[in-house]
Symmetry: C2
Subunit: 442 residues, 2 copies
Amino acid sequence: MKNVQTLIHGKNIIPMDKQEQTLVDFSIAIQDGRILDILPSADAQKNYSCDSSYNYGHHIIIPGLINTHTHAAMSLFRGLANDLPLMEWLQNHVWPAEKKWANDDFVKAGTQLAIAEMLRGGIKFFNDMYFFAETTARVAAEAGIRAHIGMILLDFPTPYAQDPNQYIAKGLAIHDQYKLHPLVKCTFAPHAPYTISNAPLERVAMLANELELPVHIHLHETEDEIAKSLEQYQMRPLQRLHKLDLVNSALIAVHMTQLQEDEIYLLAETKANVVHCPESNLKLASGFCPVQQLIDKNINVALGTDSCASNDDLDMFSEIHTAALLAKGIAQNATALPAYQALRCATINAAVALGIDKETGSLEKGKSADITIIDIDSLEAQPIYDPVGHLVYATQRHQVSDVWVAGKQLLHNGQLKTLDKDEILSQTREWNNKIINSTAVN
Amino acid sequence: MKNVQTLIHGKNIIPMDKQEQTLVDFSIAIQDGRILDILPSADAQKNYSCDSSYNYGHHIIIPGLINTHTHAAMSLFRGLANDLPLMEWLQNHVWPAEKKWANDDFVKAGTQLAIAEMLRGGIKFFNDMYFFAETTARVAAEAGIRAHIGMILLDFPTPYAQDPNQYIAKGLAIHDQYKLHPLVKCTFAPHAPYTISNAPLERVAMLANELELPVHIHLHETEDEIAKSLEQYQMRPLQRLHKLDLVNSALIAVHMTQLQEDEIYLLAETKANVVHCPESNLKLASGFCPVQQLIDKNINVALGTDSCASNDDLDMFSEIHTAALLAKGIAQNATALPAYQALRCATINAAVALGIDKETGSLEKGKSADITIIDIDSLEAQPIYDPVGHLVYATQRHQVSDVWVAGKQLLHNGQLKTLDKDEILSQTREWNNKIINSTAVN
């Protein structure tokens, strides 16, 4: 009998592996933050002793969910301005509010709120893009959550940086600081084609290739973006990025509405990754990402919440649900984005997009023990016929009981283990009052 | 100082009245199940003493939500068959399952589960359509929830009735039994144009007019329904119902996708009511209801969850959220179905559709004290800039703490007061096992 640090027994385990199986009454053995074994619980009892054991007798166990596109700190702007189109929302509400408020303290408080919300909702990994990214990185590392921190880049000056060179320099400093960190890593995060000129984008393409890092960018978010690009560059944004050598398997292209046949073909050919943000796209009336068409062409599709300011939550259960529903409506086909595929978009597909599917994204031997546990004992969760369908169509995030990242328990029975909930609530309320009382925003 | 039975103090009260106001630090005085007064809490303390008082110091208070289209008993089929189009889903899964399982016991257990789920989610009133409707009525009356019970009608025989005459006779018997009941009432509920021939529909039109009851019907759910109607009757379903004298202010037309300009004009002219079921329409890829276009023509639009078998929950917070998002996407306009309008669809508009807006649907003096209380103290609910937007875009049903119907508290701190949660869980699990173990369904 071999001793392991942790043994987790689960009624239903959906590992999101290639076999697409659901394992009933299985156990996960964890050693040094990794999955040493997944085996029938009866065998686990014979083969393993352990330091700590956890029994999830009526639960569903999945790989931790991945939020592949967010701006965590903007949680302090949750619901700041509703029922407005993208450019009006950005220019008249979000950008002025950011100009006034965004600083290190804001990013610290907002990111702590976001991470607390994400962990409580079963998210163990987020791909971020925001100013003062060194603070985002530090807060994520302290909380023990997995994070990819965007090295943000814009042409125009903000309180964070003055010009493209300064944005890039600040980003690379964060990359240097975290390149050996086990959970926090950097990606290039040029904001969008409409906010960056060619020269800085060329530099990103070169650096990303050199450092082998992903490039996380808003792309084809609205019809207006396409029209303006045609006017200014005589080509559509995707085509422009392609000319700038950015369309390849390192690309994490967020939104991707308004896609033409030839563009879908290009994405497939180049193995670029698409992040679908259905709730943000709906709320801002940005357009529809043709998810089923992309999947039909074997394009890797992941899911993101976008920020709390356009969603208004960081709830991947809701995002998976909305994605699965909306794909059917848009494809006019009720078999589009079936439940298992939708769940892939929030787990293994996301890990592929972020370039770390060898490390995480599914529950398999050797991978990091990144695990989310869902309690399905409540009245609203009954009856259950198919655990996968149930997760997608009938589960809400407050049913998440536990979250583990790299073998460490960050959430237990809905309680945060590495973050101080009361402190987060109190500092959030302070920011809330400050922003409400300012006339500049309203 | 006047004594009242109950005094409720609320931090934010959104009465959904004509002034579209949000009342801060107000109180509701309740006497004999009705709202006697709504006034600033400071004045309430001076003017009223009370038998019981409730202090909701950090909550949002709204009129109880109304689910304007459901088949409550089908909660036992939650997630029975996913990722299938309407006719395959009905013919190969739902109808065979109903043929095998639907009986009085099934309807009792399913309706209890549904009412428990609805009350815990802030729904105080549901408009139902299902077999064995006398059982639905009894269970609703026992639970103290408000319900409109559909007198279901089909051409074809089911375990409930053999022919249209028997369906109608059974329905009218329920109507006779409950016509003086304060909370449970009957509506005519012919299933759909494609399941009922002209003669029984003509009889419904006549009876509904005579008894002054609403007519609740699935209408224009799918493109296929329209095509078949054109083939069989040489007219579209709405046009056919119009010829049969059913299109008027008593009509509760559920789904209403595939609408032409002239049909929208007809709905507006006749003051017919539309029930939008966005999640069910998406899941079955049925098509899109043009909500904003209807509202632009002053057509009364309410919201429904449809059954748990196509949703897979009875969650009006989720339905309001999805409706508000989807309307923007479909209208390609981020100002479509703004938050307050979306909330109207689940409260006062629903009461108008059901013909009892003088009794309920908003918090106003003289109306029934039907009240839902939402706790917004959790981390995920911070910060808050606009209570109405917050309810629509950032609130989940598990935040509902209390529900009152006609001055009686049915939910307190998330605990059901008139239903036995453990008994419902246990009988639901029995049905779950029975249905899973049967090969006939799978």
